[in-house]
């Protein structure tokens, strides 16, 4: 059941991205996906395995739901976020879309706890929210640096 819900959430995140009217260049799309994934994987590993602030499920099907969250939902949402910031002119649209995407990720995070895919041991939902916000900011910062390399 959890896996099905995460599959649907992955489908929703990919569909939202696919429906965006303007896209980044192919190399930029790949770059954001790679950077987003590497950031998220690092973060998950450090928080879970090194500091043991979060305990992961030992059930394989729930683990695959986590993999969908880590390797599909979060990187695709980050890609959508960067694409909107780069291609949309209106500030209202930019802020509105960013808040929606942030809310979407927080919902997925909440579901992770609800479905016992992971448990907070010395961690909290607030810390996760700050953490995700930092990943969004860091990804945007790295993308802006990358964008400066255009034409070189």
């Amino acid at each position: 059941m959890e896996f099905l819900i995460y599959l649907i959430l992955s489908w929703i995140s990919i569909t939202i991205y696919a429906l965006l009217p303007k896209k980044l260049k192919v190399v930029e799309v790949i770059f954001v996906f790679f950077v987003g994934s590497i950031l998220v994987m690092n973060l998950f590993t450090i928080v879970e395995y090194n500091f043991e602030l979060i305990t992961l499920t030992t059930e394989t099907d729930k683990y695959f739901s986590l993999l969908l969250y880590r390797s599909v939902i979060l990187p695709v949402v980050l890609l959508t976020f960067i694409t909107i910031l780069q291609t949309v002119e209106s500030n209202v649209h930019k802020w509105g879309s960013s808040l929606f995407l942030y809310g979407f990720i927080l919902l997925v995070e909440y579901l992770g706890i609800k479905f016992a895919i992971y448990f907070y041991t010395k961690w909290s939902f607030l810390l996760s929210s700050i953490d995700i916000l930092l990943v969004f900011g860091l990804c945007l910062f790295i993308f802006r640096l990358y964008k400066r390399q255009e034409g070189k």
Binding site: F34, S37, T45, Y63, S71
Partner: protein, 173 residues
């Protein structure tokens, strides 16, 4: 947490020497791609190594551990960063030699064999520690998949660059 060893020994020296060697090769190679493409080719190696090591190398799957402990350490990070110039070299040679589609599978096979040899050396020197029923030959399938996806990625990027170039020319006209 599993601890395999506590000393600065063969696996660390091997990684440092390899890291220096691959980055020296990378910086000595003449520039071939636009900088944005170079960065993506470098990132491909890092992404793939992170993806597999932090997917099948962690609990509950946990097929193997990297370096001295089962935890994520600085030398694990060095291992992943080391893959960046290696993946760049894979794309560089493919592009430089203008390998025909017919010979692409052979090129992938050749790289998969080199990767298997390097993994065998790494395992021998204590970089990788297999757990459960994992055997080195399982990695061969992963290498074939990863290298094939790399070639698809290469062609996708090349096509987009071509399209971009043509659209710029027609815009000027």
């Amino acid at each position: 947490m599993t601890i395999y060893d506590n000393h600065f020994n063969s696996n660390e020296w091997f990684l440092i020497c390899l890291l220096i060697a691959v980055y020296v090769i990378f910086f000595l190679l003449p520039k071939r791609f636009p900088r944005q493409v170079t960065i993506v080719f470098l990132l491909y190696g890092i992404f793939v190594s992170y993806f597999f090591d932090l997917t099948i190398g962690l609990k509950p799957i946990d097929f193997y551990d990297v370096n001295d402990t089962s935890k994520y350490s600085i030398f694990d990070f060095i291992t992943y960063v080391m893959f960046a110039p290696v993946s760049y070299l894979f794309f560089y040679i493919y592009d430089r030699m203008k390998i025909h589609k017919r010979f692409t599978p052979l090129y992938i096979l050749m790289w998969a064999c080199v990767a298997m040899f390097m993994e065998w050396v790494s395992k021998y020197l204590g970089v990788y520690h297999y757990r459960l029923a994992y055997e080195i030959y399982y990695s061969f399938g992963i290498y074939l998949a990863v290298l094939s996806v790399g070639i698809i990625l290469y062609h996708r990027i090349q096509n987009s660059l071509e399209t971009e170039k043509h659209s710029q020319v027609s815009f000027k006209e």
